[in-house]
């Protein structure tokens, strides 16, 4: 039997039972669609996160609490060891360009009779040079304000607008955690950085934030060096080990990462998540495959006489096997293609919806997902179609022709 005959014969057989073929394909369509959706959104998320981390700058060095862990991921149970004095000591080094010691807390900010939720960011004046920012009105606080634990605040544009509308908030009082703060500046609209909408930030001196939230330590110290990165990391390690009285051979109570390290870590995490979610989606493919197998068995039973006839007119066992296998592969592959098209469509819609809430997401189709989807759907056709096809091939032509 020629390949073209196999193809046309299979198409004819499948179109004779068009509705059933479509229903059979549904399982594969949903399965492949899920895989494409998961992989494409996963890759879009990865691109987004990596893009956000890269937006911090490639020369950024982050010192975090606790010793380095496998994969670099911070632990939820890490004790905080970094102090404001550590940040200050770093800022006094000649090889350091800029330092931020930070404490952050989601809180309600009240002013002008309006409560709004925002992120209270305890930081240092280098925040501006670090991220290339400048207040739209007023000034950012100074190192003196930090040292004196001043109760001054610079509002993000959205926070300011929520509370004061079009009015000028400069010099007005706002309340954070029951304490009054004087507005000394308003930031311009800036959108998102990292995973935050920084327009919802309220910047206060880091020392004030420590008092406000009763924290002795910092959440992180971020700095940029004026020497090569490896050198800056080594010098920072030496300084902090010395300050924390860590002997040679003892484990550090902090860990230092660069944005490249973070990108690697995030990529690892998202890769694992993609595999995990794809595996869950793959379960629906197995269910779809079982559906294919079931329907192919039904088809063999229903078409027993046809199989007998085909054998009587010259079909070899292998011809019958190939025909049923071709029908099964055709069903799953077509299901796969439809699933891929739907998967791409739904991914596009999902990215559009996500973009409404968070800018920076870009639509993209996972090519590996498409290759995987096509490969898996064809493989399902072969794996789940083989047993019914073999049953068809082994049918005795006389018994098959006698079957009612």
């Amino acid at each position: 039997m020629k390949s073209i005959d196999l193809l046309t014969s299979s198409v004819q057989s499948l179109t004779r039972t068009r509705n059933r073929s479509l229903l059979t394909m549904l399982g594969i369509i949903v399965g492949i669609m899920s895989v494409i959706l998961v992989l494409s959104i996963g890759e879009a998320a990865q691109r987004f996160i990596v893009g956000q981390i890269a937006s911090f700058g490639s020369d950024i060095i982050i010192v975090m609490n606790g010793p380095a862990r496998a994969g670099g991921a911070p632990s939820a149970f890490t004790s905080e060891t970094l102090t404001f004095e550590d940040a200050k000591a770093l800022s006094q080094q000649s090889w350091v360009k800029a330092v931020i010691g930070s404490v952050e807390q989601q809180d309600i900010i009240s002013g002008n009779g309006v409560d709004t939720t925002g992120k209270v960011t305890g930081t240092m004046p280098d925040e501006l040079s670090f991220y290339d920012l400048a207040p739209k009105t007023g000034l950012f606080f100074s190192m003196e304000d930090v040292n004196s634990r001043a109760r001054v605040v610079i509002l993000g544009s959205e926070v300011a607008k929520n509370m004061f509308g079009e009015d000028d908030p400069m010099g007005k009082q706002v309340k954070i955690n029951r304490l009054n703060f004087r507005v000394v500046g308003v930031m311009p609209q800036s959108g998102t950085r990292g995973f935050d909408n920084i327009d919802k930030n309220a910047y206060i001196p880091v020392t004030t934030a420590q008092d406000l939230y009763n924290r002795k330590n910092l959440m992180a110290i971020t700095f940029k060096g004026s020497v090569v990165m490896t050198d800056a990391i080594r010098r920072a390690e030496d300084l902090l080990r010395n300050r924390h009285n860590i002997d040679i051979g003892q484990e550090d109570d902090f860990n230092i990462q660069t944005s490249d390290d973070l990108i690697k870590t995030v990529s690892q995490i998202t890769d694992i998540l993609k595999i995990l979610l794809s595996s869950i989606a793959a379960i629906s493919l197995i269910v779809g495959g079982i559906g294919i197998m079931n329907i192919m068995y039904v088809s063999v039973t229903e078409r027993t006489r046809e199989i007998g006839l085909r054998k009587a007119i010259g079909a070899r066992n292998s011809d019958v096997l190939r025909q049923f296998l071709a029908e099964s592969v055709m069903l799953t592959t077509l299901g796969g293609v439809i699933g891929i098209v739907f998967g791409i469509g739904i991914t596009w819609a999902a990215i559009r919806i996500i973009s409404q809430f968070q800018s920076g997401w870009e639509f993209g189709v996972s090519l590996s997902g498409i290759e995987l989807g096509l490969g898996v759907s064809m493989a399902i056709g072969i794996v789940f179609g083989y047993a019914p096809a073999q049953r068809a091939a082994k049918l005795n032509p006389i018994e098959a022709l006698r079957r009612e």
Partner: protein
């Protein structure tokens, strides 16, 4: 001249869970090329089993079956399938046409398993359909035809590969007398005018009288082998004149 079919002491046993059932107990005969032979006998006489073996759908247990001088008793499944496709044609009581499929596609079906180029297939199928007088039905679906027409499509399907022998298993069993006569007329024409060898299994005496020779089976044995004295001709089937 070598007979087209020669069987010697043909025996067939079926084994089911160690129970052996003998269906044919040693049958011998020859059928020359171009002969129209009817195999008759009551139910269980072994006539269908004999036809299945002669038509390469089943294998014998002992004995010899020479087809066109070749001993086919030792052929494997694939070689038997090749013989079925190239040398034999089958007509069944139940027609066995593909549903929701045109007459043309049904007749072309055996060509799927041949080396005939795709471009020649339509022409060959149309010629076969013309031989059974259904040219006006080429594009009709099989379920739009009458019983007699369906059986003639089945005959066209056997003709498309120009077989050496046509096996007809109760071809008029599902038809009214008018359609039955039309089908028998077609078979007669194929035998008389085109020289096809036809082996017909039937339990109807009237149908068997279209053959020139009748083999009668009983209890797995060939009990009678005699020519038909007053063979029916196409003229006997008045409705077809």
């Amino acid at each position: 001249m070598t007979p087209l079919i020669k069987v010697e002491n043909l025996k067939k046993d079926y084994v089911n869970e160690e129970i052996v059932t003998s269906v044919l107990h040693g049958v011998s005969f020859e059928i020359p090329r171009g002969q129209f032979v009817a195999i008759m006998g009551p139910s269980g006489s072994g006539k269908s089993t004999l036809m299945h073996i002669l038509g390469f759908l089943d294998t014998l247990t002992t004995g010899r079956y020479l087809f066109d001088g070749q001993d086919v008793s030792t052929f494997d499944d694939d070689r038997l399938a090749l013989l079925r496709g190239e040398r034999a044609g089958f007509i069944f009581q139940a027609f066995n046409l593909l549903p929701k499929t045109s007459v043309l596609e049904n007749v072309k079906l055996p060509l799927l398993y041949s080396d005939v180029p795709i471009r020649d297939r339509d022409q060959l199928a149309k010629e076969a359909i013309e031989m059974v007088g259904l040219s006006h039905r080429v594009n009709n679906l099989s379920n739009q035809l009458s019983g007699g027409e369906r059986q003639r499509v089945a005959i066209a399907r056997t003709l498309v590969r120009k077989p050496s022998v046509i096996f007809a298993d109760e071809p008029t069993g599902n038809l009214d007398s008018k359609s039955g006569k039309a089908v028998m007329n077609t078979l007669l024409e194929l035998n008389l005018n085109h020289g096809h060898t036809i082996i017909l299994v039937t339990h109807e005496t009237y149908t068997s009288e279209h053959a020139e020779r009748v083999l009668t089976m009983r209890d797995g044995l060939l009990v009678e082998d005699k020519p038909v004295k007053n063979r029916r001709t196409m003229d006997d089937n008045h409705m077809l004149k």
